[in-house]
């Protein structure tokens, strides 16, 4: 038995959809952010899989850029959550509806 490329792709698809379910069922803004990180990581796993199986390092280069964007997104997103918590004293995304008309 050898590990073919399909095993990694199915694991990556599973992790992505767990992240989607996490975004949909959680009401805590920080847990929603963590689910988004999970989805980004599953996309990274697909990129590294193809890069390794094709013997081409461009895929791993793009993982590097995805990590940069994820770090920037986490810093700005958590700053926004702290600012909202100061104003509304909650991080429940059902109560943060000031943009809803």
């Amino acid at each position: 038995m050898t590990i073919t490329i399909e095993y990694y792709l199915i694991l990556s698809a599973f992790m992505f959809l767990v992240g989607v379910v996490g975004v949909l069922i959680n009401r805590n803004a920080i847990v929603v952010f963590m689910s988004i990180e999970l989805m980004l990581n599953s996309a990274n796993l697909t990129l590294v899989t193809f890069s390794s199986f094709l013997g081409n390092s461009i895929g791993q280069l793009f993982v590097f850029f995805v990590m940069t964007v994820a770090a920037a997104e986490a810093a700005v997103g958590l700053a926004i959550i702290i600012a909202i918590f100061r104003n509304k004293l909650t991080v429940n995304i059902d109560e943060i509806n000031i943009l809803k008309w």
Binding site: L11, L38, N41, M67, T68, N92
Partner: protein
């Protein structure tokens, strides 16, 4: 059973199980800790794929820096205000799981329909060569130097933006 199969199933099962545990915990600190375990097992999977540089960066950047930031914010905010989060409409939960299951079935069907392993066979020496810091750094500083500078500028902008947002009250 050779070591590659064993390591894939070990890290893969840990990654899948910790992802599911992460989204179903009530306490967000526990889910953050399980997410760190998930990232660590992903680093193990990157090692099995011969991507050494990405595996080390995964540990340092994700499991180190980003998750410490998350835990810091979680412990800064008030924990008792997070109790009633899971009492949401059960219809939403069932709908989310059904939609995710349908999309997962579609993806699995597409992966097996295309069957990429028929066209791609792994060349171990090329794969090891592609994952070294040398190969990635050569691409990064020659063909991809403009995206690299853009990434640096993005990090600077994010640092300043986070400082400005967290400093003053917007009222």
């Amino acid at each position: 059973m050779n070591i590659e199969v064993f390591l894939f199933f070990l890290f893969g099962i840990v990654a899948a199980v910790t992802a599911v545990i992460m989204i179903t915990r009530r306490n967000p600190v526990i889910s953050a800790l399980f997410l760190i375990l998930n990232f660590a097992s992903l680093a193990g999977l990157y090692i099995t794929l011969n991507a050494q540089f990405i595996a080390v960066t995964q540990i340092i950047v994700y499991a180190g820096a980003i998750m410490i930031l998350f835990l810091f914010v979680l412990m800064l905010l008030r924990p008792e205000s997070q109790k009633k989060f899971f009492e949401l409409n059960p219809k939403t939960k069932i709908f989310a799981i059904i939609v995710a299951f349908i999309v997962f079935a579609q993806l699995v069907y597409m992966i097996f329909f295309a069957s990429p392993s028929a066209n791609i066979s792994k060349d171990v020496s090329k794969s090891v060569e592609a994952g070294t810091i040398e190969a990635i750094g050569r691409e990064l500083f020659t063909n991809y130097v403009v995206p690299f500078e853009a990434a640096g500028f993005l990090l600077l902008a994010a640092t300043i933006g986070a400082l400005v947002l967290a400093k003053k009250k917007f009222d």
